[in-house]
Symmetry: C2
Subunit: 426 residues, 2 copies
């Protein structure tokens, strides 16, 4: 078993060729636009299902379009040891975020299959639907529903709409992935969940390490802010008379950044902004933007949010022109602590491949489907380095060597866990 | 002739009923959304044409959809004394901006007609197309083409698109106002141009005056700004590593406002902003916004623009994170000086109605079709007060008394000018 090795060349060739085929941005970019449930996503899914079936897996699709490909084990009454991630991308994302995790899982299944390797537990590959939340709002949506721990339930997810007003339920039906399996871990459970993912940050690279053993996912909250003022004519409204929603919003956005820097509690970002007016000659009456706050602990998230809103109050008071703001909490993911059993399996597997000084325990700064699975089954993640820490960007890059290293560690983490089950330890 | 009086009740009833019929926002708002060349605009135009024809006017439509309704005069070889404005509105505008000017012109024609009043020159009503530039970008578009002095020529205007991608030329054809008359003052000229308009600012009201004699329109320039940074993941990119285009844009927008306030050269506004990302979890790589600068003179516009861009350089240097900006000059209207003949006619007419202390000479802070006509024929404007200086807003309001006063002054300004022609002075 120690000698079992994934095929690095096959893994990377498959990853690159499927990215080139389905959702690639125009060359010379190596970026991806494979929005969830799009025609490109459908083609990728169809291919994945076919590949898994050719390896002897049983494929199930649940009510949220999550794909579960299960390679049978020898034990009776054991749930699958799963390797999950996602195949959807941001509108201008890269080839590795999520995709590597599913491709590596497929490579593990191929390796087990070609070696006729029996396992005690069934071994599962999962493609989680809509991890990005880029087309249908709500990141990590379908793993959240499956865990039953997300505040956004099945019916609410089905009712989300893309920018063209298409319901997610309809989109699932249109591409043929509106499955009949209940999207609920109590009906379709897992023994545990492993996820290989690119780090998406610069910390492994900066520390000159190659493997992150992920022990938790930081807490995060999103807040929708609406700033209001008084609409007016850009030519005729004297400067001192203005109640300009966009100037106030601009100062608030600057305050978000400044507060995150000063407190050093975590990160805070505004990416989306919309002005009420599309006329250059109008002082806007309202501006909407969304704040994304992430910190190592839930307490720190709340502290940073409190500090940001205190700064907002100062800005509005200074402006003193009738502009005001309202805040709506829109989404959150509490800090997720991963499990000793899975963390230990990842670390033991990593030590088979690299020396201890190449390995680093890490918190994930990004949200992942594993954050939801960790609430209902033992979970851990493996991180491999991202070049320059860049992600959600066409220039996202992880070397073929690091992709292969991650897949190899994923294989042996699964076998390590399965071995413990076989020995009756778990 | 001194006794000739417009019918205040008819003017206001017609103005209110046509606004209620075509383009009214949902009650209780008294706001308007009558975008240029929309179905509502078509109905308003059709009605206007019918009314003018019933008063014995000849109606011509030019290549930009401008409507010229001409009541014949007694002199041969004299061009029309025109009363022009516009019937289109902002997406959330009011019932007076532009609309009052055309309705008052109609009331003048009705008054002349019912009194069988002969004039030396023909008297014209003009409904200029797309003054607002709210649907097809480019304010005062069709009067600019007619004057031949705008940098945006006929073919370029036809090629502008609305948000649905419909070409303006096609929109003109679809509502039946793609006319055959050349849109060129040399082919379809005017003796002079008068325009009654609401002030859209607070200065008449604050000075407790009722009539503005408009002597010029301030200069204005628009600049499109693109701010660039580096796209990144909102969770994994450490604060010190960020090159955040939206934070830099926010600081620049604040700098626009602060510079206008500090220099006191004029007004500067940002109303439109767009972020490259629609994902809350992405640090945007780029942000676009538009600056609108207006000052009493062209020199002051350039001084204010220079001061704004100097402030931009300081912001970008302070940020020191690789964010950068580019500026494109998109549109401008040089300062427009109105003509003694028309200014005198307006002042003389105003003095027939109100005492001298009710009258104020003013610069227009908003652009108007009269800014373009002034480049090729004698022009002036009459301003009446705007409640609280509010415009481009559903709460825009001018009292029925002030509307009637403006229309009465418009009538006698036209007759005053016509009298000078009759006497051979002009």
């Amino acid at each position: 078993m120690a000698a079992l090795r994934i095929n690095a060349e096959r893994l990377n060739a498959t990853l690159q060729s499927t990215c080139t085929s389905w959702g690639a941005l125009a060359a010379p970019s190596t970026g991806m636009c494979r929005l969830t449930l799009s025609p490109e996503d459908k083609k990728t899914r169809d291919w994945l299902v076919q590949e898994c079936e050719s390896l002897g897996c049983e494929v199930k699709v649940d009510q949220m379009g999550n794909i579960f490909a299960i390679r049978p084990g020898t034990a009776k009454d054991r749930k699958p040891i799963a390797m999950g991630s996602h195949m959807d991308t941001q509108p201008a994302g890269g080839r590795y975020d999520g995709i590597l995790g599913v491709q590596a899982a497929l490579e593990v299944l191929r390796t087990l299959h070609e070696n006729n390797m029996p396992t005690n537990c069934p071994i599962g590959l999962i493609d989680w639907t809509n991890e990005e939340g880029a087309r249908f709002p709500g990141a990590m949506m379908a793993s959240g529903v499956w865990s039953t721990k997300s505040s956004t339930r099945l019916e609410a997810c089905w009712a989300t709409q893309d920018q063209e007003g298409l319901l997610m339920k309809q989109a699932l039906k249109e591409i043929g992935y509106f499955g009949s399996v209940l999207c609920d871990y109590r009906e379709n459970g897992l023994e545990c969940h492993f996820e290989l993912h690119i780090e998406q940050g610069p910390f492994l690279e900066r520390a000159n390490k190659t493997v992150g053993v992920v022990t938790s996912v930081q807490g995060m909250k999103w807040f929708a802010v609406r700033v209001t003022g008084v609409e007016g004519h850009s030519g005729t409204t004297p400067m001192p008379d203005r109640s300009d929603a966009l100037v106030t919003a601009s100062r608030l956005i600057t305050a978000v950044r400044d507060t995150a820097r000063q407190t050093e509690l975590g990160v805070a970002t505004v990416g989306v902004i919309n002005s009420d007016t599309s006329s250059q000659a109008t002082i806007p009456a309202g501006v909407d933007f969304i704040i994304d706050i992430r910190c190592p602990t839930d307490d720190m998230v709340d502290q940073l949010a409190t500090a940001v809103f205190k700064a907002f109050d100062s800005v509005v008071q200074e402006e003193g022109n009738g502009t005001a703001y309202e805040i709506k909490r829109t989404w959150g993911l509490p800090e997720s602590k991963f499990h000793t059993r899975c963390i230990d399996a990842v670390r033991a597997s990593a030590l088979k491949e690299v020396s201890e000084d190449q390995i680093m325990d890490m918190k994930s700064r990004a949200g992942h489907d594993s954050a939801w699975t960790s609430r209902v089954c033992p979970t851990s993640m493996i991180f491999v380095p991202s070049k320059d820490g860049i992600s959600h960007n066409p220039n996202e890059y992880t070397s073929p060597e690091h992709c292969a290293l991650g897949a190899q560690i994923l294989l042996h983490a699964v076998l390590e866990y399965d071995g413990k089950v076989q020995k009756g330890e778990y």
